[in-house]
Symmetry: C2
Subunit: 354 residues, 2 copies
Amino acid sequence: MREWEKNIRKVVPYVPGEQPKETSVIKLNTNENPYPPAPCAERALRSMDLDLLRRYPDPAASTLVKAIAGFYGLEEAQVFVGVGSDDVLALAFLTCFHSGRPILFPDITYSFYDVWAGLFRIPYETQPLDEDFKIRTEDYERENGGIIFPNPNAPTGILLPLSEVEKILESNPDVIVIVDEAYIDFGGTSAVPLLEKYDNLLIAQTFSKSRSMAGMRIGFLLGNPELIRYISDCKYSFNSYTMNQTAIALGAEVIRDREYFSQCTQKIIETREWAKEEFRKLGFLFTDSMANFLFVTHPLYRAEDIFSALKEAGIYVRHFSHPKRIANYLRITVGTRDEMETLFSFLKQYMPKQ
Amino acid sequence: MREWEKNIRKVVPYVPGEQPKETSVIKLNTNENPYPPAPCAERALRSMDLDLLRRYPDPAASTLVKAIAGFYGLEEAQVFVGVGSDDVLALAFLTCFHSGRPILFPDITYSFYDVWAGLFRIPYETQPLDEDFKIRTEDYERENGGIIFPNPNAPTGILLPLSEVEKILESNPDVIVIVDEAYIDFGGTSAVPLLEKYDNLLIAQTFSKSRSMAGMRIGFLLGNPELIRYISDCKYSFNSYTMNQTAIALGAEVIRDREYFSQCTQKIIETREWAKEEFRKLGFLFTDSMANFLFVTHPLYRAEDIFSALKEAGIYVRHFSHPKRIANYLRITVGTRDEMETLFSFLKQYMPKQ
């Protein structure tokens, strides 16, 4: 090892789902929305003022912040935007989990949490989900330096009722509790109304799933204005201008179209519930996902084998080999009805005895 | 202070130059390019495949990386892209300056360096510029945990000859030396050829100045493949998908148009040299800037007063009140010839005795 290498921060990075370059595959591996963004996105893109390209964007991305605040009936000072929910969560980790005490999150959850903890040298303790893959709120009553969990949880899709989210907030008034609501719009109940009551609550959301804009990288945090200011200070200490002109313009347009949004999420919910029935008929076991993906296992087939067979057939799903408890599960994004039918007709052939 | 506030990382953020919302002002305060990006940017934007919006971008932004590598005649593995040069520099600080020993940079320089050091708790020592605002290479021969300096330096615009850049590299084989070349394309000589010889050299560049794309947020690092991989690991531990679809598409197109690029930078260089003459006629003193800005002072007028008078007249320039040594200077971006003529006709009126 050369001398300069000794000074390097070495980390084990998060590995994102595959982004195959062929467009012919059925992509059910990264929880993208199968429907295009609201039509106003196209108009915004095609009519964009070209002079904006050479000029720095508004560092506060006010147009976008205002539109998000408007959607949730919050003040602008309660909204922080960034380059996807990973960006805003990374900044939230850096800013809020600075006590030196271990933060808490579930043992089976979004696999980026321990990566951020590793990057920023934040100690953590994972809390095991119960035998049904559920979060036990009592596990979050111990001394800690902060809490984070997705709701619905990933990759299980299981929703924690709002009353239980509130229980966790009640027992932890002295630390920041982050509820990662990337998948909340597919039938869950957001913690947004709790913001009034709990100044230590931070909610993360994204345009990547329910708003069909994974390609534009827009995520946001909702919280009390002081907390948002602290995170904003850290952001301004990292990169003044994170949101480019197209992200600001398209994001602000898309969130205003409430009708398209609700039609689109409703279609995905319907396809998901129908897909649950289809999986049941094929003998799969699965959690009652309230997200835009399903988390399934089969008592007679190895998840890894199904994964590979599907991939060979041009259908990408996600398989996590760690932790062991979920190694025989697959996470399958809810695509269009057509895409799901292709999936099921493949599975019916693959599992002839069912 | 509430209990949770005690756990928060508190920082003093960088303050970016003003981005006025009125478009009628003459904006010479943030070193944007006065010319639009290469015409292919418009074509790429207008013809973009809309399906890309809903899909995650390629996390490696390979199209863009490949185009940048092509421009410089480097391997793709030597290129790292991010959301503007601030993003890639922040990640470089986080990754490369991890020794615990103080890093070194000039006392008058890009004012983000000490902010990143503060954010990541990196100790640093500033090295004073000489009486002519020049970097003294011998100041960088002491024990350190890494070195960073812009070339040309900001806000002075003074270029360090490549031989002196090499002297600094020669004396510091065991730490990473970052040469921040945000302004190199306006007449400077890039350190790119030194990459072959020094595996501890990291070069930062940006699309915001010479490529007229401040609004798209594209910056990049050039370095040896192993070093780039370490930084990339940190990036993948922070945010998998930083470059959105439009940034990747437009960036890759724009860098291919070498002719437009050289015409555009040439025009700015010509306007800059002409502007130096105009400033001289008005009694200004200034450094021999090789950037797309001028760094000027007047023996008879306070910089702050000129700044305010210009602002009132709708001409924005930049004034730094710290450090004291430059408090009587203004940093003025080189705009179009027309914009500069408006500036000078205002100054001629403002300084009647000259």
